[in-house]
């Protein structure tokens, strides 16, 4: 047989992941195993952000085969003409072919067929099923193996009724990075695990303290243990289908490749510098980010303000964190100076505890509300089920949730579009160094 040769001008496909419900895959395998001869099945679905999502399975009957031997299979054209448009009408415009094959790789004939099919279905992948194993291939300067994920939908029945299979496959194949695993983000992490998110990246250098237990459901035995590592163990114990990575480090010390895996960043810490880092990271990696924030003001046990906000950042589309937040240098001092320096400065200048980060009041209901709002924005970002809200503010004392219109700051140091640099008049360095004694700069 003459080997298939690729034309040089063929565009590469860009399927990062094939996602298939496990029950569909079982049915497909069953159909292909029913005969000693080669057979073929078709998955239909959609393509979104590099993911090929299979929601339906089409199994040809014996009459639909044009030819079928132990080493070759072909389908009657009328089967394709009759059946494929039914799926297209439902918006399921992508197809995955899977055929039984005596080896793990595609034959030259299979490759030729693949190259013809992608003219009509540009994200089509071709799978072979051999001795219980499945391999997916796409064209990327030659046929390349493509990763796939099987999703057991059984525990998500109620969600599938809300989001459809496609929505659940998107959730189950998503990776969410949670920067900070404190009172708020822990709830979001647990809820994402319940919803069946594919992978969680938990980042937090801190340990649980006893007083955290008023708002986070953690056993007493976890007090003193790292937050990220302990939440990983709790989630893995309860939801084996959710992959979790724990990074017990400051967000800035986690390798950027870790964040690159994420579909969404959730930037939770109260720390200004960590939020600024998260915002700039999202801009740099071109990833959406959600910023949940909660705060309570109370004097002598009397509440004066209680509420929070949730901001959604989509790089290039919505304002970033720094567009709407002004720098408070005292906060920067509090968060960046080490304890020894703080102590020295406080003693020298009589600052008392001004440089210490104040212990803020915190109650569970506020974290629940803000966490819930943030979770919904995350789900919307993943599934596209509804438009995101860029900024919303919750006033707990009035039980009021408001959408706030925010605008990009054209001079934002982090995300303002690059403007041509204005002409800058410069001087010799030595000239500036002499300025303090120079005639033009006399002190008043």
């Amino acid at each position: 047989m003459k080997p298939f040769s690729f034309k040089k001008d063929l565009p590469n496909q860009n399927v990062k992941l094939v996602v298939i419900p496990s029950d569909l895959m079982e049915k497909a395998k069953e159909a292909l195993s029913a005969s000693e001869l080669e057979g073929i099945v078709f998955f239909f679905g959609k393509y979104k952000d590099g993911k090929l999502l299979a929601t339906d399975l089409l199994i040809p009957s014996e009459d639909d085969y044009e030819a079928r031997t132990w080493g070759h299979v072909s389908i009657k054209p009328e089967f394709v003409v009759r059946e494929f448009p039914k799926f297209e009408k439902q918006g399921k415009t992508q197809v995955i072919t899977m055929h039984k094959h005596p080896m793990d790789t595609l034959s030259s004939g299979d490759v030729e067929t693949h190259m013809n099919v992608i003219k009509y279905y540009p994200h089509q992948v071709s799978a072979v099923y051999n001795a219980g194993r499945v391999f997916f291939y796409q064209f990327q300067d030659g046929m390349k193996l493509t990763p796939y994920r099987l999703v057991n939908l059984s525990r998500f029945d109620r969600q599938v009724r809300a989001f459809g299979i496609e929505g659940q496959l998107l959730i189950s194949s998503s990776t969410i990075a949670l920067i900070g695993v404190g009172g708020g983000n822990t709830k979001i992490a647990f809820d994402l695990a319940s919803m069946g998110v594919g992978k969680l990246l938990l980042i937090d250098p801190d340990k649980w303290e006893g007083h955290n237990r008023n708002r986070v459901f953690i056993p007493p035995g976890l007090v003193g243990r790292n937050k990220a590592a302990s939440i990983k163990s709790l989630i893995e114990f309860n939801y084996a289908d959710v992959e979790v990575e724990a990074w017990p480090k400051k967000a800035e010390d986690v390798p950027e490749d870790v964040y690159k895996q994420a579909d969404v960043l959730v930037v939770g810490p109260d720390s200004f510098t960590a939020r600024m880092f998260g915002s700039r990271l999202a801009l740099r990696l071109n990833k959406p980010a959600v910023f949940p924030a909660a705060g309570i003001e109370a004097i002598d046990g009397k509440l004066s303000a209680m509420g929070g906000s949730v901001q959604v950042l989509i790089p290039g589309q919505t304002p970033c964190y720094e567009c709407i937040t002004s720098i408070d240098s005292l906060d920067v001092y509090r968060e960046t100076l080490d304890q020894e320096t703080k102590k020295k400065l406080a003693e020298k200048y009589g600052l008392g505890d001004m440089l210490e980060i104040p212990v803020a009041p915190a109650i569970a209901s506020l974290n629940d509300v803000i966490g819930g709002i943030a979770l919904w924005e995350i789900v919307k970002l993943i599934t596209g089920i509804a438009p995101i809200v860029e900024y919303q503010v919750y006033d707990a004392l009035k039980s009021q949730l408001s959408q706030i219109i925010i605008e990009r700051n054209q001079n934002c140091p982090a995300c303002s579009p690059e403007k041509p640099l204005p002409e800058v008049k410069t001087k010799e360095e030595e000239e500036l160094l002499l300025a303090v004694k120079g005639e033009g700069h006399e002190q008043e």
Binding site: M276, S329, V332, Y349, V424, K427, E428, L433, G440
Partner: protein
């Protein structure tokens, strides 16, 4: 033009909005603010402020007029001991300020830190 130079020039533009007299050297390493306002504990209402930007955009150094006094006294935080001789000779003294600097900070961030520092300097 490198990313670091871009960042310095953008930062300088921002500083110039607040201090129109600000000047930058052609090496982009030195920024001069001729009339930087000071709080009342100082012996002068203004000082010349010189910011030296270090290599790789590490924490900048700040220098002020060597003749500055705080409540009439020489301040330990305007450290002649830490100031290079050639700067002392030119009338500058280095500001002894410790900040945890991140290269993601802008020069405006640094200016804000300096302002806060001057406000709180008491001896």
């Amino acid at each position: 033009m490198g990313m670091r130079t871009d960042k310095i020039l953008y930062g300088f533009q921002e500083i110039k909005r607040a201090f129109p007299d600000a000047e930058i050297s052609n090496s982009y390493r030195v920024i001069l603010i001729p009339r930087f306002p000071l709080p009342s504990q100082f012996n002068k209402p203004y000082t010349s402020l010189l910011i030296k930007i270090n290599s790789d955009y590490q924490a900048p150094d700040a220098y002020v007029d060597r003749e500055l006094r705080v409540y009439g006294q020489k301040s330990n935080h305007l450290s002649e001991a830490l100031t290079e001789d050639y700067m002392l000779e030119r009338g500058w003294v280095k500001l002894c300020i410790q900040v945890s600097w991140s290269p993601s900070f802008s020069l405006v961030d640094y200016m804000l830190m300096l302002m806060q520092y001057f406000k709180e300097l008491r001896e």
